[in-house]
Amino acid sequence: MSEIELKPVGTRILTAKDNIVDIIVKYAEQNIGPDDVVTVAESVVAITQGRITRPEDLKVSFLARILCRFIPQEGSLSSCYGMQSAMDAEGQLRILFALLLGMVAKLFGKNGVFYQLAGEQAPLVDDVTGTMPPFDKCLVYGPFDPNGVAAEIKRRLGCYGAAVADVNDLKRAAVLGVSAGLDPQKLAHILIDNPFGNASQRTPIVIIKNYAQAERRAEEQA
């Protein structure tokens, strides 16, 4: 019985002219079997959906310029452009109240409240330098309808399942969207070592080989 194997797939640089499902068919179809799960990097899905903007194109509000100052400088929302992007995606008031409540929660020793309340797009915004050239000069939002993208990948490829994942080298993995029947937490655990690599734009697809077999085996043993 085969073990789970992670197989990164390289592509050319993808742009808003590409359809991510067509790209997976083109570059990976021959390696995908019925027991496999296809995962794709969220920033690349977002790029193919045209969900990018340039700092030069953003109209930055006074509020964004103030609120960004309260985000630690390692965060994507620490620049006024990252903050404005989050505000454009989730609304100014929502970000304002999330930040205020996050500050209060921090006083009581609870971290992460801001990102819990700020909406799903807020933690997904990548500031400039967040992706590889030529998108290093752009802010990249989170993808639109990741569950729908995953379902479409599964339908076109005939694989066991598909997922859209946000993984980095800091051992942080989040699965944003899955096709029906997959467990996002389990997939995040499998992807924790970032098989997409640093330059996830070069290998934006990772095939989890033999996933269904491993799952069946685990069920039998349970």
């Binding site: 700092p55 100052r69 400088q73 620049s79 006024c80 452009y81 400039v128 330098t129 050239p133 290093d136």
Partner: protein, 186 residues
């Protein structure tokens, strides 16, 4: 009325506190230290073209990290001043060399810096490049190069220029150092 006054005072106090916080926090502040650049050295020489390079250190001397989103050299050699050569120039990080004249955005934390390599190629419009550069030296033509860089940090993005001068004497010294031109002393 009293309640309104309390609200107004509170708003003013919060505004001052936020302003003080931001002022104390500061921002990134980049400097390309052209005064500490290396001399240009000759990298490549053909009959028609000569390529020189130098290294320029930079630093983020501000109190916050910042991103150099773009940087490029802008050479300034109008034909009114000297019409014997075509010039091209490019800039790259010494730690991330590339030849496509694309500057990949880079985050520089406060107090840290790096080095850029500026490469300049002169191509003779007529005849040989050594002859053309010799004429440039005879006319004592120095060439200004602006390092143009775009910064994104806490505040709004901005583009800044720092000027350096590539002197004709420096060009001749670089050629002489490679033994391609006889120095006056020899």
């Amino acid at each position: 009325m009293e309640f309104l006054m309390i609200v107004i005072i509170l708003v003013i106090v919060v505004a001052i506190a936020v302003w003080l916080f931001i002022a104390r926090q500061g921002d990134a502040e980049f400097e390309f230290i052209v005064g500490q650049r290396t001399d240009f050295i000759l990298e490549n020489l053909t009959d028609k073209a000569a390529t020189f390079s130098c290294k320029v250190p930079f630093i983020n001397k501000g109190s916050q990290g910042g991103t150099i989103m773009d940087a490029y050299p802008r050479h300034l050699l109008p034909y009114e001043q000297f019409d014997g050569v075509d010039v091209s120039s490019r800039l790259e990080l010494s730690t991330a060399p590339r030849t496509d004249n694309y500057f990949e955005s880079v985050i520089i934390t406060q107090g840290k810096g790096g080095t850029v390599v500026i490469t300049v190629t002169f191509t003779a419009k007529k005849g040989g490049i050594q002859e053309a550069l010799g004429q440039m030296a005879e006319l004592t033509v120095d060439m200004a190069i602006d390092i143009v860089y775009q910064i994104v940090a806490r505040s709004l993005w901005y583009i800044h220029k720092t000027r350096m001068i590539m002197t004709c004497d420096e060009i001749m010294r670089a050629l002489q150092a490679k033994g391609t031109v006889e120095s006056e002393e020899s």
